[in-house]
């Protein structure tokens, strides 16, 4: 048993355990913190697999950005505790069954599958070819230019960057459109309805809105 396996075993166990706790906790803040733990464990697993860049992104984007958003929402709507009535409990047996079945399927099928390149050549994976022009003096005294190709081993993030901005440039750009649509959607759903200004300032409208907001708050913190 080597060190990498040991790390994988320990960190993997923590990751699975904390992800179960994410859904099991009644207090949303605790759930969020366990989610953070899961993200960090997964980041360590990425490092074990030599994917430092993905690990860094995992920490920056998920543990950093997304978690802060989660905590923001949890604290903004002020949910201390989830209601105690277990409304979903009659589904849990089916859920566990399906989950176990998929797990077994994955464990038997995916693990034993034949993959394209089982022993990837790390050097090749991380190398990019660069070339420069060098002046060469020929035996007869003339000077010509010669292209020299150099294979250079590059870091993980450089390889990802190369792939992202050269080979996958267009899908990457479309992903930005995707984010734009997500933003439009958030605004469309989040903004108040388009109503005439005079109506919005009428006392009835304001009262009604306050009532709705109170109801929502009560329902959330119940």
């Amino acid at each position: 048993m080597n060190a990498a396996f040991l790390v994988f075993f320990v960190v993997g166990t923590i990751a699975v355990a904390s992800s179960i706790l994410v859904v099991a906790m009644r207090n949303p803040v605790h759930s969020a913190l366990f989610l953070l733990l899961t993200f960090l464990c997964v980041a360590i697993l990425f490092v074990v697999k030599d994917a430092e860049f993905v690990a860094a992104v995992q920490v920056l984007v998920y543990a950093g950005g997304i978690m802060v958003l989660f905590l923001f929402v949890v604290m903004l709507i002020n949910v201390r505790h989830l209601p105690d009535d277990r409304t979903l409990s009659r589904f849990w047996k089916g859920g566990v069954g399906v989950g176990l079945a998929i797990f077994l399927l994955l464990a038997t099928v995916v693990r034993t599958g034949t993959y394209h390149d089982q022993n990837p050549n790390k050097k090749l994976l991380r190398s990019t070819a660069s070339h420069r022009v060098r002046k060469v003096t020929n035996p007869d005294g003339s000077v010509t230019r010669k292209r020299v190709v150099r294979h250079r081993t590059v870091g993980n993030s450089e390889a990802v960057g190369m792939a992202l901005y050269q080979d996958y440039l267009v899908p990457f750009e479309v992903a930005s459109l995707f984010l734009l649509v997500a933003m439009i959607g958030a605004i469309v759903i989040g903004k108040r309805e388009l109503s005439a200004p005079e109506e919005e300032t009428s006392p009835d409208f304001i009262l009604k809105r306050m009532e709705t907001e109170k109801d929502v708050k009560e329902a959330m913190s119940a």
Binding site: V109, V110, G113, T114, H116, V170, P171, F178
Partner: protein, 492 residues
């Protein structure tokens, strides 16, 4: 990116810039101008359509430069579908016009989201790599989630959007997982490379599982049984023009990528998936048609009928021959226009919030609007696949393809189920012609008339004289057909 790449992606670039510009219109004080929103959208679609046609003469089928290498193809198949999508979105714009005017929601965002959905569909239909197909699919799906919940003060609309979003997100995850397994086995995301890799791999459990997950994700997007549960609720709850969008353009997009992936990448793997898909197809046809019989709500009825139609379209994919590929093209076109015509007629009946949604609302339509009642009959016959209409041609190709590929039992089942479907389509006809209607008015506006009339002309004309359509489909499917190594008219 070279200039050639820019030309290659010009339609997508134009529609995405245009859709972003539509968002800016309220900023310059055009918020209340619904008519200009509609016209801007139509002009944008017109320009995009012209660019698509222009590009088809200009560029090679797969660009060679590195940034696009193997990501996109502008083959006849893609162009055929892109033009269907653009026309369908233009018609949905017309359908939305009055619907939005009555509501107080902002029209500009609505049209902008439709534009982005179109952009996603156009990307995915020319996608030659699983990653570009996926990202286009997601762009389309995300826009449709928002559009389904656009009328956020209506409980049904919000519920529909929520269900659609949660289930759609899960199915996207499944799809991605399948893609990652296929990538792991084949070492490439490019459809042609996958096809090449698969011809050397004999059998592989991980690959099977990957294809299964990919198929499940795609079946969700095209609403085939057993991944159909979201359809009736979402179709019922979404604003009617958006239901029209989901049941036509969005569905045709799912057909197109299903066909592209299975014809180009997985053709050597057919023995393994064709029986699974045949079962899914049979279940969709049976369940969709039988469930539709009991529906009193027209939107739900059409939702179940659209599940059945997904089953028919699958016939063309299972059969994996040139008839089947042409069948998918022809059927998508025929299905989209018959359905859009029906939605236009449903919207004509809209007198109040949910008017035109129940079968009773159609009672006596033949006296209130004889011409449009007749048009509705033609559309329904086309969906049922009765000869003088275009629907017959589509179904003929699909059923013939299934028989040629040795799926005779499936073709017989499909014919039987088409007969069952006529039962509930005729229920609407009976309501329109034989029942006494309440003396309520209908809202037949100009845009609805234009849509219904165009669909009527397409449905009738292509039904009576289908040769141009068949020739076009043959021409359009040639590139994929050559790569999928389909030998025309050869049984299995």
């Amino acid at each position: 990116m070279t200039w050639n790449d820019v030309v290659f992606l010009l339609p997508e670039i134009i529609i995405s810039i245009g859709a972003s510009l539509l968002l800016l219109a309220p900023v310059v004080g055009w918020r209340q101008r619904e008519t200009s929103a509609k016209w801007s959208m139509l002009i944008l679609l017109g320009i995009t359509a012209l660019t698509v046609i222009g590009c088809s003469y200009w560029v090679q089928e797969i660009p060679q430069s590195r940034s696009l290498a193997g990501m996109f193809a502008l083959d006849g198949f893609a162009i055929f579908f892109k033009l269907i999508f653009i026309t369908a979105i233009a018609m949905i714009t017309l359908l939305s016009d009055d619907f939005l005017r009555e509501s107080r929601y902002s029209v500009w965002e609505y049209y902008s989201l439709l534009g982005f959905a179109l952009c996603g569909m156009m990307f995915m239909v020319s996608g030659m790599s699983l990653i570009s197909i996926y990202i286009g699919l997601e762009l389309m799906s995300l826009s449709s989630y928002i559009l389904a919940g656009f009328f956020k003060n209506e409980e049904k609309s919000t519920e529909a959007a929520m269900k659609y979003f949660v289930l759609g997100a899960v199915s996207s995850g499944i799809l991605l997982y399948g893609i990652s397994l296929i990538y792991g086995v084949c070492g490439s995301l490019n459809l042609l490379d996958i096809g090449r890799a698969l011809s050397t791999i004999i059998t592989n459990d991980a690959l099977m599982f990957g294809v299964m997950l990919l198929g499940a994700g795609l079946c969700f997007k095209m609403a085939a049984v057993p991944f159909h549960v979201w359809t009736p609720d979402v179709y019922e709850g979404a604003p009617t023009p958006i239901t029209a969008f989901l049941s036509t353009a969005s569905k045709a997009a799912a057909f197109s990528i299903f066909a592209r992936i299975f014809y180009l990448a997985l053709h050597d793997f057919q023995l393994d998936w064709s029986n699974v898909l045949a079962t899914i197809s049979a279940l969709s046809m049976v369940l969709g048609n039988l469930a539709a019989i009991t529906q009193d709500n027209v939107k739900r009825m059409l939702a179940y009928s659209s599940i059945a139609h997904a089953g028919y379209a699958l016939l063309g994919i299972i059969s994996l021959n040139s008839l089947g590929l042409r069948g998918v093209l022809i059927y998508s076109l025929v299905y989209v226009f018959a359905n859009l015509g029906i939605w236009a007629t449903v919207l004509m009946l809209r007198r109040h919030e949910y008017g035109g949604e129940r079968v009773d609302d159609f009672e006596g339509l033949s006296r209130r609007a004889p011409f449009w009642a007749f048009a509705m009959v033609i559309f329904l016959l086309s969906l049922g696949g009765i000869p003088p209409t275009a629907g017959f041609i589509g179904k003929y190709f699909l059923f013939a393809a299934a028989i040629q590929a040795g799926f005779g039992w499936l073709a017989i089942l499909a014919v039987l189920m088409s007969a069952v479907s006529m039962f509930y389509y005729l229920r609407l006809v009976v309501a329109m012609y034989l029942r006494e209607g309440r003396e309520a008015d209908v809202a037949i506006t100009r845009p609805l008339q234009i849509v219904a009339a165009t669909c009527l002309i397409i449905t009738l004309l292509l039904g009576i004289y289908p040769t141009p359509l068949i020739n076009q489909a043959t021409e359009s499917s040639r590139w994929i057909g050559a790569r999928a190594a389909i030998i025309p008219h050869a049984g299995r």
